[in-house]
């Protein structure tokens, strides 16, 4: 590339490369002999034909006469064929081509114009592509084993979940993140309301090692109670880990959180109990109102929960979530339109070595409580720790945010097709709307019956059309 860029300013080159027209017979001894005249006439004729055709067809002639080694392409149109033939020129047997010198008598490299070799089907071959991807995989595995974590430990992921409209959305996100983790993984899914086929079918698609347990209470409708129940469910999962003596690193992946892949590499560094920084994406619909407030010192950055370090990179304290800007505007019930707030310190920001949970005291440090000895429930994993200064801050001392917390749910009464497969209940008629625009959902209070019925006129057309027009979400926010 660089070398050829050099060439462009050389003055003499263009003239050199104008190779002579093959039929250019002697123009100097022009009028002296009949053969010369004949040659001239032939030359003129060929020029005219070339002018007509638009390319030097003499090459075609020599191609047909002297063709040796190149590939023709059966799939190209004649115009293309003609164009490529122009490019495929003959090598060295033609005396009219410019002087072709070999570099030395016994060299196999020839200086001069060469043909451009194109194979018959110059397009990617799927078998080759697969082989290449396997090679890339092997190279990357080798890279990981050399520069990444040596002896990575199993990651044990605890996820509390329950069946609702947004479950598929959230759980699929977490599932795909977990499927990408290059280390061994065990996924413990605790489901409120008992084990259900919905969840089971969803997590079966992952191909991961999963432990799916049910929890006998149903998920309540308010956020506070939901958090409490989730804590109980997580404790249940920790008891399972203890019972099965699973060995690895326990992390809490809630089903609506977003995890980065670096998180799974970073948690391998934990010794006993670690904390990462979590970005809180509080659902701020009322963000404009907040900014107009008098408190302008409120920095509008995203709040982050996690460890705080002092100058010598030792744990000095905690960044917790400050709920005061949202006072009065927070959501209480799951289907509220207000901001959904997290607790002060969320479970998902903590990781622990599973050996801390095992029954036998063994190597377990003194500052961890035994989970069987807990009275009541714990609000955050810090309650498990007697001495909070022993917590290891991860992610370059909490400066890197490796996961994000978000809670988005549909209304509790919203319906969705089971397993998100639309079967064909043609017989259901739902009355259609009268106004073409969606109206605001009614104020959320548990007493009223806010469901608006939508219907579509069933046309006498095909099955498909009526199926498409049926509206499965009766809450009115999604219009099909």
């Amino acid at each position: 590339m660089k070398l050829s860029a050099l060439r462009q300013s050389y003055i003499n080159r263009r003239s050199y490369f104008r190779s002579s027209v093959p039929l250019d017979s002697s123009s100097d001894s022009a009028f002296n002999s009949p053969t010369a005249i004949f040659g001239l006439i032939l030359h003129g004729l060929c020029c005219l034909i070339s002018l007509f055709l638009g390319y030097r067809f003499s090459r075609l002639v020599f191609f047909f006469l002297f063709s040796t080694n190149f590939y023709t392409s059966p799939f190209r149109s004649t115009a293309d064929l003609v164009r490529t033939l122009d490019v495929h020129s003959v090598l060295s047997t033609n005396p009219h081509l410019p002087l072709v010198n070999k570099t030395l008598p016994n060299s196999r490299v020839v200086v001069g114009r060469h043909g451009i070799r194109i194979r018959p089907w110059p397009h990617p071959d799927p078998v080759e592509t697969m082989k290449a991807h396997r090679i890339i995989e092997i190279v990357q595995k080798e890279q990981r084993s050399q520069f990444g974590e040596k002896d990575p430990r199993t990651v044990i992921v605890v996820t509390p979940t329950y069946v609702r409209t947004f479950q598929a959305l959230h759980l699929t996100g977490v599932m795909h993140s977990l499927m990408l983790v290059p280390h061994d993984l065990v996924w413990i899914v605790v489901e409120a309301g008992g084990v259900s086929n919905e969840t089971a079918s969803l997590i079966a698609k992952s191909g991961l090692k999963t432990i799916h347990v049910g929890f006998n209470q149903r998920m309540p409708n308010s956020w506070d109670e939901r958090y409490n129940l989730e804590s109980k469910m997580r404790l249940r999962a920790l008891r399972i880990i203890r019972q099965k003596k699973l060995d690895g690193i326990v992390m809490f992946a809630d089903d609506s959180n977003m995890h980065s892949m670096e998180l799974f590499d970073e948690i391998q560094n934990v010794k006993w109990f670690g904390a990462v920084s979590v970005g809180i994406l509080a659902n701020s619909i009322n963000a404009d109102e907040m900014v107009d407030h008098k408190e302008e010192q409120e920095n509008p950055r995203m709040p982050v929960q996690g460890p705080a370090c002092n100058a010598s990179n030792m744990l000095a304290g905690w960044h917790v979530f400050n709920a005061s800007p949202y006072a009065g505007k927070s959501a209480v019930h799951i289907d509220d339109r207000g901001t959904v707030l997290p607790r002060k310190l969320d479970w998902s920001g903590f990781v622990l070595n599973s050996r801390l949970l095992w029954k036998d005291r063994g190597e377990r440090p003194k500052w961890i409580k035994d989970i069987d000895m807990l009275e009541g429930d714990i609000e955050s994993p810090l309650d498990l720790v007697n001495d909070p200064s022993m917590v290891e801050p991860l992610g370059s001392c909490g400066r890197r945010v490796l996961l994000w917390w978000l809670r988005v749910e549909a209304r509790t009464d919203s319906k969705f097709p089971p397993r998100w497969v639309i079967d064909s209940p043609l017989e259901i008629t739902v009355p259609s709307r009268h106004t073409p625009w969606p109206d605001a959902p009614p104020e959320p209070h548990a007493n009223e019956e806010p469901i608006e019925k939508h219907s579509t006129k069933r046309t006498s057309g095909s099955k498909r059309r009526s199926k498409r027009k049926q509206n499965y979400n009766s809450a009115g926010q999604i219009d099909v």
Partner: protein, 417 residues
């Protein structure tokens, strides 16, 4: 007692032998392998004490003034001639006593006559070289003693001492007749070619080490590009129809693989060129107007396996570095099957090549760092010169024996410079 001594020696020898074979772990815990070429394990040899080089003091019109006129010469790919001079001036192998010197170096910068675009014009170079040789042969007796057989010259231009950028013209001219007996240190190398003399030392083109250092990315970044190449496929200015440039090989690469997702090839020069090379498994190094290019150096520094498409090319330091084990060689006629060739390489071989490329002495041997470091290209050149010692008897001519023809070559070359 004699026997015990021999037993002891034998044990030491065996121990050394065993330790040499297995791959050793470097500080950063990346296993590499030792590199040994046909001349043996010579990459880390120290030339100090093995040879002595005398540097002629030429008037500054041959070197300093040229550089002053155009300081761009320090950054282009032919800058090795300037840096070699500077290195030798302060190196321990330099001797001020010419009587004890094994090799003589003439610092003449023949590739520093640049056009507006920065390309070297070779038209005056033969005359410059000739004038320099006339000077040293008249002021010092050492040239006439051997007619240059113990002198070496750096000629990093496209076709070495043939002093022309066009291959046909270069072949026509041949190597400058006055340099017939001298050792040429050049970047050009092609077997059975007029412009590569027997006994020449091939060096890599100059690539700025600082610039490459600043573009390094963390080694754990996974390599996700299969084949990478950036450069021209058709030289539209000089060879619009294709077929001349790169002997049609680059055009063949484009035509066959332009829509192949495994091949990240294009003519655009991105700002992340160096970073992308570090994310690729294979880097294409096809020939251009000349068979060599700085791409080879860049591929070695960034750990990307070079795929060399240039028939009969001679790569730098070919006796010290076993290029067959490090790079992939593809004949120009096999370019349409490049994807099959590359995917059919067994994965163990690919991993081994990457290990060899990761060897720091390999990377060091391709660079011309300022100031010089042990194992770099300067030292490899000196090692190469040291391996040619001792000079055999035919080098020294009898007092009235003359071999060189001072009037050979095109008439234009005989004009004084």
């Amino acid at each position: 007692m004699e026997i015990w001594r021999w037993v002891f020696v034998g044990i030491i020898f065996l121990a050394g032998f065993v330790v040499k074979i297995e791959p050793f772990k470097l500080g950063r815990s990346q296993p590499t392998e030792r590199i040994s070429g046909s001349a043996g394990d010579v990459l880390e040899d120290d030339p100090v004490g093995r040879l002595k080089v005398f540097v002629y003091e030429l008037p500054s019109k041959y070197n300093k003034k040229i550089l002053q006129k155009d300081p761009r010469c320090l950054n282009h790919m032919f800058a090795a001639e300037i840096f070699m001079h500077r290195f030798l001036l302060s190196s321990p192998v330099r001797t001020l006593n010419p009587e004890e010197a094994d090799w003589f170096y003439t610092p003449v910068y023949t590739t520093c006559d640049l056009t507006a675009n920065g390309l070297p014009l070779p038209f005056k170079s033969p005359r410059m070289m000739r004038s320099a040789i006339q000077l040293i042969s008249s002021n010092w007796p050492y040239w006439n003693r051997t007619e240059g057989a113990d002198h070496f010259f750096l000629v990093p231009h496209d076709f070495g001492a043939c002093f022309h950028y066009q291959e046909e013209k270069a072949i026509e001219r041949g190597i400058l007749p006055l340099l017939q007996r001298a050792t040429l240190v050049q970047t050009f190398g092609q077997r059975n070619h007029v412009c590569l003399k027997e006994g020449s030392i091939t060096i890599p083109p100059y690539a700025p080490p600082q610039k490459m250092q600043t573009h390094l990315i963390p080694e754990k970044t996974p390599r996700s590009i299969f084949v990478y190449f950036r450069g021209l496929f058709y030289d539209v200015g000089n060879d619009p129809e294709g077929g001349y440039y790169a002997r049609g090989a680059r055009a063949a690469v484009w035509e066959n693989f332009k829509d192949n997702p495994l091949f990240d090839i294009s003519t655009e020069h991105p700002t992340t060129y160096y970073e992308d090379m570090q994310r690729a498994v294979f880097c294409l190094c096809p020939l251009g107007w000349a068979p060599w290019s700085p791409r080879l150096v860049e591929a070695v520094i960034f750990g990307c396996i070079p795929v060399i498409i240039a028939d009969d090319i001679v790569l730098p330091f070919a006796d010290a570095i076993p290029w067959e084990e490090i790079g992939v060689f593809v004949d120009e006629k096999d370019v349409p099957n490049l994807d099959t060739i590359l995917t059919s390489i067994p994965p163990e071989v690919i991993l081994r090549k990457q290990r060899l490329l990761a060897n720091p002495s390999m990377k060091q041997a391709m660079l011309f760092p300022q100031p010089a470091q042990p194992g770099d290209a300067f030292h490899q050149v000196l090692n190469g010169l040291a391996r040619k010692l001792p000079h055999d008897k035919g080098v020294y001519l009898k007092p009235d024996e003359r071999v060189l023809n001072w009037t050979a070559g095109p008439v234009g070359d005989l004009k004084p410079w």
